[in-house]
Amino acid sequence: MDKSFDIPTTPIQFEKIAVNPGPSCMSFGFDMKPLLNSIKKIGLINSPILIKKRKGEGAVQYEVIAGFRRISALRALSLNPIPCRILPSETPSLDCLLINLYENLCSRDFNPVEKGMVLTRLLDLIPEREVLDTYMPLFDLPSHRETLHLFAGVEKMFDHQAKTLLASEYLSMKAAKLLIEMDGTERNMFCGYFSAVRFSKNQQTQFIDLVSDLSHIENSPVTCLLMDPRLKDIRDNPQMNNPQKARALITVLRKKRLPRLTKAETGFKQMVEKLALPPAFQIVPPPFFEGAQYRLEISFENGKDLKERLQFVANNERLAAFINPWKMNL
């Protein structure tokens, strides 16, 4: 490839440019507003790059190599013709891809779906080792095969809904990793929940994990579990906000998956309630009751106040009834 990228611009009519992104374009799930505003304010700064199609289809004679978003914005603003740089039609596919990649890398971050698109196309054109060593670091990704195939898997296996969730951060990469191993129907059903309820990243993996575990334990398909009316009712409940729904869904599943732990958690809460401690006192259990020590937190204003509160605790007869909140089956 000629290293100095010095191609003069040529005005091209919209109608002659393909409406869909070409194989070198890697845009997914972008917000056009900032670009529209910028073009309205100062015009087009960087002209798109096109390639002349070997075979035109109707009026369409050019495919987009870089600048698909800009062309879409210009179309929306009806700014016709568009000043474009035209590559010769014999330009190799890899060069076209790299032109797009480096042009975009200079100006923006890639979302995970876009990373998957680029990496998949690179895998078609160059050896895997080169993709790992040269291109993964460009995306701040470790040069691991597993990571590479995870991103390529997103491109190949995720449908539009799943990709949209991932690109808009409604779905974390960690959750995507779990979903990729499922079949399409299961994945779609999970995505149905993730588009209806905004889970935190942690909750996403927890939700998938709990449902998958229950599916194994109960020997029941994931799809059946996700159709459970109790879950669907929470998901579709208009009275609840997002965090409430996410918490409620996890609670229902946890209770089923971890019956003894959740029972102990409830038992602990009831025991603490029975102690009827004033709000200045808080008893904190060890995480999952794994450690041996509970913690008593006391808030106080000064030494005198603390002394009184400590005395109050010391005199609380009910404390003696505080025991580990689980039953042993010995």
Partner: protein, 359 residues
Amino acid sequence: MAGYPIKETIVEEGALESPMGRRILRHTPVRSIRRSLEGSTRDNMGKDALHLLHHRGEFLKPCPGTKEYICCGYQILNVATNCPLDCSYCILQSYFMNQPNLRIHVNLEENLSGILACIDNSPHQIFRVGTGEFADSLALDPIARWTDILMGPFSTRKNAVLEFKTKTTNIQGLIASPYRDRIIVSWSLNSPLIAATEEKGAATLKQRLEAAGKCQSEGFVVSFHFDPMIAHENWREGYLKTIELMDRYLNPKGIIWISMGSLRFMPDLKRIIRKRHPRSVILNGEFITGLDGKARYFKPIRMELFHFMREKLESWHRDTGLYLCMESNEIWRKTMGWSPGNSNGLKRFLDDRVRKIFG
């Protein structure tokens, strides 16, 4: 060969300069020999490929343990990595996913004097050494002949014992050896259901215990590890059955120790287990995140497992050197009736067992 199908042997550069490497290759009816590692990333972790190479790191290393739970101060002798068996719970699946093949470190003999010097330089420390942490100690012994290489030197050291930990019946090398002193032959045991369904390629429980009985009658000290214990349906009946089998084949007086540990795993292993062993039931229990970041059973479940086993094993024989692997002081006290307090205490307890049994 060793009962495990080896489809190819990969020989890394320099491996044939070692007598051990040459010996292995001579006695291995290889289908193909490769000198390159390209293409050796395999879905089955290369469990059918023998890989001869030089180990670049230290051979003898203390077991890393963790400060959150009480550990036993074991020393790992890293003679090989990976194993031809395929237990669903095997931690090596995550350790060695990217280091496939049955890797035998053929420079062991050249490094033996250094290993022994390390032991001899601390005459007051007892070295409890095992080869079964990154591989099954005996699965590949018919090929690697570790028993030939290691038993003599360890047998003559007063401050060390060598434990061969296995799920196989490959005891030919042991029996053929003239050495008995300071050698411990050890079997991992489980309930019959887990042994039959989750320990692919392993000998049946009965075969393991028969082999253990044979070793006892040949003058070996034996030990057992109930690790990982799994709280599956009807686990009480299952583990009791195993203890009944132990009673049938073993003399409890010749047991130096029996350890118990419940299933624990780094979160990443879960995905691998689901993928490689889709029918496995081991992940069905109630797991929480332990203080060391590993998943382990909710505390009362572990307590039930250990309490039950302690009661049954102690009613079989009171003095089997029963101990817990990677558990908390609290669980020790509540299930065993005593606690070593910390890792040093457990080390002392096990060192005393060594002195008691071997003198």
